[in-house]
């Protein structure tokens, strides 16, 4: 019994972290129409940043400052935000696919940096031994899991609330205005490049927070956490749930993470031992098919965006249409 509950807390914690990252992507793609091809890079910057600042010292390796937890987490978030700022500054005034290509490139570059920079990231074996928050106080492993789940849910609620506040502020309306009609927004004196940059940076900071939480939970990070599959999973979560609204993003995160975990279980049980190596490929094909079929048949997702207008409520709108050139 306790095993099941303990597994459930693990599952929900991971789903919660995924949901936080999906909310970050929702701000970028759902509300602003920015294509982030390297979600995993900002997650990874947050994870490695937190680890380097707050982790234990390793001989012959930079970092291991052992800073207080919140300082380390804040540093990881800042690192993710700074990375997004640089990429955004270079690409946001150009055609939209430059951002897609560059963010994808950042993810590739970060992975090869993590794999090869022994002095900074511990190379392929990664970094371990992060002092988990409250771990010293709480003796039972199970109780720690529950407390951490509560922390993740609290952060999730905070991010949700923050984004809701943001998108219902004048800033959020301006974001949707540039997403729908850039020329009109520009004519009203809004600067699309600056607004997009802010959205990209804030979204990346949220993804970085997800990475920081992940390290705080597993106490371990390695280049295996920087594989592109995370980017695809987060996209699938947002597309399935419905871009442009936070309920959809969180629903999608729980559904896809559940489906991913279940399909992993099912494949290890059903597929013969000789084919276990292929199980991963089958999962990849499933997620690729899911992304393509959602875009073909239900681009608005399970919970479509509702454009609220005090005078005229028109429910149900298709997936975000980006700026026309």
């Amino acid at each position: 019994m306790i095993g099941v509950v303990s597994y459930l807390t693990f599952f929900l914690t991971m789903a919660g972290i995924m949901a936080i990252i999906t909310l970050g992507l929702n701000l970028q793609w759902g509300y602003t129409g920015l294509f982030n091809g390297g979600v995993v890079a900002f997650f990874g910057a947050g994870a490695y940043g937190t680890m380097i600042l707050g982790g234990p010292a390793e001989p012959g390796q930079f970092g291991g400052f052992g800073l207080p937890y919140l300082v380390a987490l804040g540093g990881g978030i800042l690192l993710a935000a700074a990375l997004a700022w640089v990429v955004g500054l270079l690409t946001l005034r150009l055609r939209h696919d430059y951002l897609a290509i560059s963010t994808f490139g950042v993810a590739v570059a970060l992975e090869s940096l993590a794999r090869n920079s022994q002095w900074l990231t511990g190379g392929a074996r990664g970094m371990r031994g992060f002092p988990r928050p409250f771990e010293a106080v709480i003796e039972s492993n199970f109780l720690f899991g529950v407390v951490f789940l509560l922390i993740v849910l609290a952060v999730l609620a905070l991010v949700w609330w923050g984004i809701e506040r943001l998108v219902h502020s004048p800033f959020g309306r301006a974001l949707r205005a540039i997403r729908e009609d850039e020329t009109a927004a520009r004519a009203l004196g809004k600067s699309p490049t600056r607004l997009r940059l802010w959205s990209l940076v804030i979204g990346a900071a949220i993804m970085g927070a997800g990475g920081g939480l992940y390290v705080s939970y597993t106490a371990f990070v390695s280049p295996q956490d920087l594989l592109p599959i995370l980017t695809f999973q987060i996209w699938a979560m947002l597309i399935v749930g419905g871009a442009g609204n936070n309920r959809g993003a969180v629903l999608g995160a729980v559904l896809i993470w559940g489906a991913w975990t279940l399909s992993g279980f099912a494949l290890t049980r059903l597929v013969p031992d000789s084919m276990q190596l292929d199980a991963g490929s089958i999962q990849y094909i499933l997620i690729g098919t899911l992304i393509v079929s959602m875009l073909l048949w239900r681009p608005e997702g399970l919970l479509p965006e509702r454009i609220s207008n005090p005078r005229n409520t028109t429910a149900g709108k298709a997936a975000p249409t980006s700026n026309k050139e």
Partner: protein
Amino acid sequence: MIQSILDGILTGAIISLGAIGLTLIMHMLRFANFAYSELLAIGAYAALVFDRLFSALVPVLDEAFAPLTLTGALALSMVIAMVLTGLSAVVIDWLVFRRIRQKADPLSMVFASFGVALIIRNVIVLIFGHHAQLYSQEIARATILSFDPLILIKPDQVFVLVLALVLMLALHLVLTRTTFGFALRAVAENPALAQVAGVRLTTVIAAVWIIAGSLSAAAGTLYALTNQLNPMIGPVFLLPVFAATIVGGIGSVYGAVLGGFIVGIASGLALLVLPSGYAPAMPFLIILAVLLVRPQGLFGEDQR
């Protein structure tokens, strides 16, 4: 140093072949196609299948053209692979991209292209496995061009470079000397006006996919001939071909060719100072440098 430049030119020729189609697609359909480099994988594996088939059925074809390791069977297979990959590119467009194009914005196509890439790559893994394969078990002997500094070159590499240049020249002639070439350039310039002038948009788009697919198949096969073939050929070439198109300027065929050589040579030279583990990040650094200095690329229009 000279060896690095030489190797860079050879890789560059393959990247160029791959980038030509991508720059046309990105310009005409206005989306960054992340499934594009999987066409190299489709081509290279199609060539592998037919190569094995012909070698088994017609042993005469299995003789290598000395001093190359290229056999008649492989040469024939490459031509078939080019046709088949061109057709698969059209089919993929019909099944996915065209349908999304009709109802959604270009960014949805970018999402979809990642999904398509995942599917193609992992279907290839399921069929052929993760391990590396070779067209020929023969050992390609390198010719020593000079001892000090030591410069080596394999006959296969010379053949690859020559064939790549011939294909590019052929494309150049098609684009500049035929009615079809004019139609294609007209659509790239102004699709609406080209349609008014009686150019069928769907035909031209299909033709571009065929060109893109067949050149990519050639690139994939030539890469596998001089190196080895494994399912990661798609992801490995993804950033280099994007870098080549951005360096050359989106929409410029000549820019893509030049960009491919620049990316190849720059990556080759960078490995003189950097450990080889950083190689995957090189094209990204080139992209950043171009965006910083000249975002429209060498021959591109303003992309704001």
